[in-house]
Structure formats: structure tokens, C-alpha cells
Amino acid sequence: MRGTVLDAFADRYAERTHGMTASEIRALFAVVSRPEVVSLAGGMPAVTALPLDAVGSMIGDLISRLGAQALQYGSGQGDVRLREQILQVMALEGITGASADDVVVTVGSQQGLDLVSRVFLDPGDVVLAEAPSYVGALGVFQAAQAHVVHVDMDADGLIPQALSDALVALAARGQRPKLLYTVPNFHNPAGVTLTEQRRTAILAIAEAHDLLVIEDNPYGLLGFDEQVHPALRARCADRVIYLGSFSKTFAPGLRVGWVCAPHAVRDKLILASEAQVLCPPALSQLVVAEYLDSQPWLEQVKVFRELYRERRDTALWALDALMPTGVSWTRPDGGFYIWMTLPDGLDAKAMQPRAVHNRVAYVPGIGFYADGQGVGNLRLSYCFPEPERIREGVRRLAGVIEEELELRTTFLGEAVAGRTRGGQPHGAGDGPAPNLP
């Protein structure tokens, strides 16, 4: 007697779909959207800080004037007016000398990363990525059936020596990585920024090893001290593929990003993009172009910076005041994220049901690694909740961690020293937590 597996195509899926299964973690996230839960999980920009009335009028006017263009197919490479404006945006990060022809507009920078992956990666290829690394990038590399090798970071970002060591170790095994994927500014999820000296060192290593660098820079203009770190692409045009996005500086719902690449690569990216989406959405591109032309968008970026700075300050204040001893965290100078390290033995994923029960959500650290690291880490996002919600969320999370510590003391006999709140400003030194991977 044959049974049913409830899927008539179960024996036909591509190998790359292995692992696409229902997960408890994903299920728990269904609760996160409820207002009862303080979500420190998702990295959603605070779009309510936008001048929505002005944007609405602008879009209405745009349709009236340019509806035939806005609602039509467009160029596979993207609207030329927007590509020229993108040059000006990149110039803010020191990228000069690029041409509008070097830019490919994409459906968010996520599509840009997917295109790069499709153009360069074969199954089994090695990709170097920071430890931890952006979960969306790991998903792209997994779909390409690439093998991710993580390279350690610390408070100053990717460690050059660790990169060299990784390259040497791979070479000893006869392997040559296709790409280095890096988020140099206000890293997702680690919250750290690559120092100037290390930028030079990383590019020198890339040159020495003929390594292609993928620079993903969605947060570059969101530094709280208004300092804009020159992009890697600004120093090296022929070895760095730059991914940019309007999701954090304007609106993620429009899904507009871009890739700036050497011309030979660019041509392949365009062909790959046309095969994938035909063309990026004309309406979204026109909205962004009009916004950049007609609205004080740099002033709006300042508004975002101040808003996120206030929320970062609130989160750090609450963490300093409320977290039990043994917990440490990074202190970002920009962007959206704080990376937390739990006391030894605690498992952020196993702790998550208790967190949901206590109506607070975070992202377990294990999702930011391709190799099972990150069990004792978690990512907190401060970008979306109001400050009072951030305080309440941290208070709840501190309670969850204390309960977990108590359980471990009961069952595993691990002494948990000095579990008093406040007191020492744990992890509140000048830099990030010392045990950041």
C-alpha cells in the first residue's frame, strides 16, 4: 500500500532546495509582528520618519506627468537618469570616476548580490565572508551551492591576518576562493566598521591573492558622527564590485538597489538580470529619481541618522543598566544592529521560545553563519521600535537571559557569578565585546 508524502513533486526538486524545510525558528517569528511583542529582530527602516505626504504628492504627480513611462517596461540596465544620480550618491562615499554605464539598477541590492552570485559561482566554489555575515548573503551563496568560509572579525572589522590565514589555508588544500563578501560599514549583524588602515590592508591582500571583493554598503551614509568612510570601491575600481541600496536612505518597499562593476562584469550582470526580472520596476526607479531630484533627501538622511542614533543610545543605555553579568555586546557607530554575546553555554536559538513567551524577539546568531557558529550570539535591531519599546524589550530580554542562567545553574551545575543588574557596564568599554567572533 502506497502512502502519500503530500507533495507530488517530492522526487523532482533541485539539489539546491535541500534544507528548504519548515522551521521552528521561522514559526516563532510569526508572533513577532504582533504588537504585543517587542521586536528587536527585524531590521526594518523607520519609514514613518519620511515626509509621507510630500512623497505621496510627488508620486501622484509623477504618474500624471510620466505615467506612460512609469507603467511601462524599461531598460534591463535601469533608467539612465537614475544611474547618473547614483553616481552622485556614490560620490558621497568617495567613489569618483565611475560611469553611469558601470551601474546596473537592481531589485534591491539583494538582487544585485544574487546576480553576482549567478555570474561568478559554480557549485562547490569557495566564498569568503565575515564571521558573522549577513544572513541574506548566506542564503544567496547557499542557493548557488557555494561553500562559505568565514573570516574572523573584531572591533575594527574584518581581521587582515585572518583573511591571509584563510587564503593560505585554502591554497594548501588546493582551493582558491572566488569572492570575498564584506559589509565594511556598520556591519549587519555585528555593528562594527572596518578601520581605514584595515581597508588598505584588505585591499592589498586582495591584490596579492587576485581576490575579487564584493562590497555591500547599505548603511554607509548612516554613521552617527556623520563621518562617511570611503568605500573600498573608491580605492580600487577594478577589483571591487559595489552593491548599493536606497532601502535605508529612502524606502525599502520600492526595492531599488544597484551594482557598480567593471564593464566586463557589468555586461554579464545585465544579461543575467534580464533573464531574471527583464527590467527593474520602472515606477520604483522613477520614484527614487524624482525623490533625489525634488526632495531634500540628504536632509532626510540626517533625520534618519538622528533618529537611529537616539534609538542606539536608548538600547545601549538599557543594556548597560539591565543585562546580567557575563553578557556583552557591540557599540555601533551607525547602522541598525547590536551583536550580543551570551554567557558561556547559553544557546540563543534554544532560548527563543522563552523570549517569545516573554513577548520579546531577536534573531539567534546561528543564522549569521554557514558553519554552525553563533550559538551563543544574537542580533538586536534598534532601528524600528520607539525608544520606550526598546527599553521594555531589553528589560524583557534581560529577564529571559536570567531565567536561562538559572536553568543552567540547576541542570548543568554552572555557577553564575554576580548576576546583579546594572553595576558594571558590561561590554561598555570603548569598543565592541572582546569575544566577538
Binding site: G3, V5, A27, H357, E406, T410, F411
Partner: protein
């Protein structure tokens, strides 16, 4: 106990039910919110296809006001996890005089708490694996090491560690070595305040759905569960392709009757109403062991009650409409 379609006598509505207005409750704040939302959508679609005007509401702070502003003839509770199954929400509905499909609040409290349900079912003469259920405080006060040693010595290995309340296999772990017990306890206590440790019985896992009809509760064909990984965990439950289901279960006729009898016994013993799903395991010796019962069974594409309804030759929409009509009739 026969389960052939001809023998099933579910409450069939006399005619079209366009005049019946139902609300499906789905979502909630339990860990199983995602499953509940999918169950709720499927129930609502089935009811609409059966001619019942149906809308879906979440179980949140707006619920009572929404029901007061636009009353329904009956509610169908597709909530999984605490609020939908522990009787608390049903108590409020009873207080408000709102008819609903499913078990009354008092009986839910016992069915929801796995140790209480096991004790009641064992008292009724059915088999269930030996167990102990303890809160964290007991381990803390008596010393976890000594208590865990006692548990593994008395119950033997392997063991199943599971939350005393909850479903979808969340927090459930099979323990083959006593050394793995402490960390399993830590993980399990993230889901519940009390942990149930149960002797593991190897065998064939089955799920038997029961529907009330005019002649009393009747079992639907037993569904045999055969996960590819050998473990019927969350992924195996909700990822099509990861588990093979056999309906009816590939068991000798006598054993099939025994598992169906068990499900009806559980339904009656615990005072369940309208629908339930009993999970059991058939050991290598053919003995049937009760594991747990669900008063708000899953209704997703991979859930076993809809499979059993189809295997019984019934239409899901008509069956659910019958349950809604029964709830409306009770209120009258």
C-alpha cells in the same frame, strides 16, 4: 469500532447553511501562531465552499469588541497552543454566551495538560508510557542530578522529553543517554514551566481523529506517520515530502480497531466535544499506547484530521459545516 464512510453519521445540516455566519479564530500569540493561521485559512475556505458565511479573526484585544459589533452564530477555534487549547479563551466565550465548535473549557484544561490527560486515560484502563512531570522548582530544590538519576533509573532509556503543554512537537527531544538529559531539560523548559519525561516506546506512530455525531463519537481512519528522518519533528510535520502518511494505517485489523477504540475512549473519558485527535504509538507487540490528545487539531495541508476526513470519504467543508451547525444548535 467501524470507520467505514457508510457508518459515519456526522451531523449533516438539513439544507444550505447560507444563513449561518461563522467566525474562525486563528493566530494568537502561541508558538504555533503560524500553524494556526494556516489552519484558520483552510477551515474558512472549506466552510465558505460549504456555503457558510465565514470571516477570520485573531484572538487579540479587539476580539470581543469585534464579536459584539458583528456577532457570529458560532466560532470555530483554529487556535493552536495555550489560548486555543487550555480552556482559557473558551471560558471567556462561555461567559459571553458565544457558541463555539469544540470542547468546553473545563475538559480542555485536562486534555491540554499532558500529564493530567495521561493520568485520566490510564485510570480509564488504557495504556500510556510511564512518565513523570516536574516543574523547574522541584529540580532546583531537590537537586537536578539526583532527580534526573532517579528518573532515568526508574523509567529507563531511551526517554522522551517534552513540554507538559503544547503541540507541533515543539520542544520534544528523544534522549538515548542519561548524559543528554540535563541539556534537554534546559531546552524544554524554554517552552513550558513543567516538563514531561516519558518512557520511549518504539513502534508505529498513528493519529486518530474523532468526530461527534448523533450516535456519539466515531473514529475516522487512523493515519500512520512515517517520517523520512525517523523523527516526527516540526520540520517533518509541516514540510510536504518529509513524511509519508498511510491512511488507514498499515496495521492488522485488530490493532486498527484497538487504536480507534482508544481514540474514542480518550474522547469520552476526557469529556471532549465535536472533534479531537489522539496521538498513539503501536509497539512491536501490537499494544497501543496513548501519547497525547489535541482538542484543536491542525487543519493545514499537512495535518492529519483533514487526511482522515478525506480517507473516510467525507467532504471537509460539509463536515466542518456540520460541526458549526451542531454548535449553533447547542446554543439554541
Amino acid at each position: 469500532m467501524s470507520s467505514s464512510p457508510a457508518a459515519l453519521d456526522h451531523p449533516a445540516p438539513a439544507g444550505p447553511a447560507q444563513d449561518v455566519r461563522a467566525v474562525v479564530l486563528a493566530g494568537g500569540l502561541a508558538y504555533e501562531r503560524d500553524v494556526s493561521l494556516r489552519s484558520g485559512r483552510r477551515v474558512a475556505e472549506a466552510l465558505r465552499q460549504a456555503g457558510v458565511e465565514t470571516r477570520i479573526l485573531d484572538a487579540d484585544a479587539d476580539l470581543l469588541a469585534a464579536l459584539a459589533a458583528d456577532p457570529a452564530d458560532a466560532l470555530f477555534i483554529a487556535l493552536h497552543g495555550a489560548a486555543g487549547e487550555d480552556g482559557s479563551l473558551r471560558s471567556v466565550l462561555e461567559l459571553a454566551g458565544i457558541p463555539f465548535v469544540g470542547t468546553a473549557a473545563g475538559s480542555c484544561r485536562i486534555a491540554w495538560d499532558k500529564p493530567s490527560a495521561k493520568a485520566a486515560v490510564r485510570a480509564a484502563g488504557a495504556r500510556t508510557p510511564d512518565w513523570v512531570a516536574l516543574p523547574h522548582s522541584t529540580f532546583r530544590e531537590l537537586g537536578a542530578g539526583a532527580v534526573l538519576d532517579l528518573i532515568s533509573a526508574r523509567l529507563g532509556l531511551p526517554l522522551i522529553v517534552k513540554p507538559a503543554q503544547g503541540g507541533s512537537a515543539l520542544g520534544v527531544e528523544l534522549i538515548g543517554s542519561a548524559g543528554d538529559l540535563p541539556s534537554a531539560m534546559v531546552s524544554c523548559f524554554a517552552y513550558a514551566d513543567t516538563v514531561l519525561v516519558e518512557r520511549f516506546v518504539a513502534g508505529t506512530e498513528v493519529a486518530v481523529s474523532v468526530l461527534d455525531g448523533p450516535a456519539g463519537p466515531r473514529a475516522l481512519p487512523a493515519v500512520e506517520i512515517d517520517p523520512a528522518s525517523g523523527v516526527f519533528d516540526y520540520a517533518a510535520r509541516y514540510t510536504p515530502g518529509m513524511t509519508t502518511y498511510h491512511t488507514p494505517a498499515r496495521l492488522p485489523a485488530g490493532v486498527l480497531h484497538a487504536v480507534e477504540d482508544l481514540a474514542v475512549t480518550v474522547h469520552r473519558t476526557l469529556g471532549l466535544r465535536d472533534l479531537s485527535r489522539t496521538d498513539a504509538i503501536v509497539g512491536a507487540d501490537g499494544c497501543v499506547h496513548f501519547l497525547e490528545v489535541n482538542v484543536s487539531p491542525g487543519m493545514t495541508e499537512t495535518s492529519m484530521l483533514p487526511m482522515a476526513v478525506a480517507a473516510a470519504g467525507l467532504d471537509l467543508g460539509a463536515t466542518l459545516r456540520g460541526l458549526v451547525s451542531a454548535a449553533v444548535a447547542r446554543s439554541g
